[in-house]
């Protein structure tokens, strides 16, 4: 069974803390994504990576950074957490278009982050 796992389901942090959210996929996918999900706003792309050590900004990258040192792992970093970063964070992965032209994304269970 293919899987995308996220390190925590629930996380509570204080303002100003550095926060790491980890995502691991076992499907040998090239593409990995971080989204945040907020009521009424749907899913918004923060960053994505199409290869090891490669990254591209999504629609809302401010206040976030990412790291991809290994193909299977994609980390989202909040350098200094703020209350407006309280949200549900979803990680996803997908294959290359030449392998899967339909670009199906596979999602992890999500991390609900609360910043106090």
């Amino acid at each position: 069974d293919v899987k995308v796992t996220q390190s925590s389901r629930y996380l509570v942090k204080r303002t100003g803390e550095k926060v790491f959210l980890e995502c691991v996929q076992d499907m040998d996918h090239e593409n990995m994504f971080w989204y945040r999900q907020d009521p009424g706003l749907g899913l918004r792309l923060i960053y994505f990576s199409y290869d090891v050590k490669m990254k591209e900004k999504g629609d809302i990258p401010e206040g976030y950074s990412v790291s991809r040192e290994k193909k299977e792992r994609f980390s989202l970093i909040l350098e200094s957490a703020s209350t407006n970063q309280t949200s549900m964070y979803l990680c996803a992965s997908s294959s290359l278009p030449e392998k899967d032209r339909y670009n199906e994304q596979f999602f992890g269970p999500g991390t609900r982050l609360t910043v106090l």
């Binding site: 995308v4 389901r9 090239e30 593409n31 009424g40 706003l41 749907g42 899913l43 994505f48 199409y50 290869d51 591209e56 979803l90 996803a92 290359l96 278009p97 032209r101 339909y102 670009n103 199906e104 994304q105 596979f106 999602f107 992890g108 269970p109 999500g110 609900r112």
Partner: protein, 117 residues
């Protein structure tokens, strides 16, 4: 530019009655289309995807969607709702014509489905 419109933010049906969740899209290329479901505090699960092999697509849990190019629609249906169908549903469009490693995927805002006993 691609976009997705989900015409209803919330739909409520009685158990055993049909479900219709509406989705319209715009795409410059030949699109890939998906429906995902999200149960409370869970990740997104793929219900079905349009692969261009057939306009009527069957998915899991009895859901279907019909691709209508002339109407640029991809509505999701189920003949008989079950209590376990209560969830958030997302229509998604992806440009399957691009040759780049990343194809921008656009999520609709979601439709919340309630099922009344």
């Amino acid at each position: 530019a691609q976009s997705v419109t989900q015409l209803d933010s919330h739909v409520s049906v009685s158990e055993g009655t049909p479900v219709l969740l509406r989705c319209n899209y715009s795409s410059s290329y030949s699109p890939s289309l998906f429906w995902y479901v999200q149960h409370p505090n869970k990740g997104l699960q793929l219900l079905l995807k349009y692969t261009s092999a057939a306009t009527l697509v069957k998915g899991i849990n009895g859901f279907e969607a019909e691709f209508k190019k002339s109407e640029t629609s991809f509505h999701l249906t189920k003949p008989s709702a079950h209590m376990s169908d209560a969830a958030e549903y997302f229509c998604v469009v992806s440009d399957s014509g691009s040759k780049t490693s990343y194809d921008k995927v656009i999520f609709g805002p979601g439709t919340s489905l309630s099922v009344i006993p």
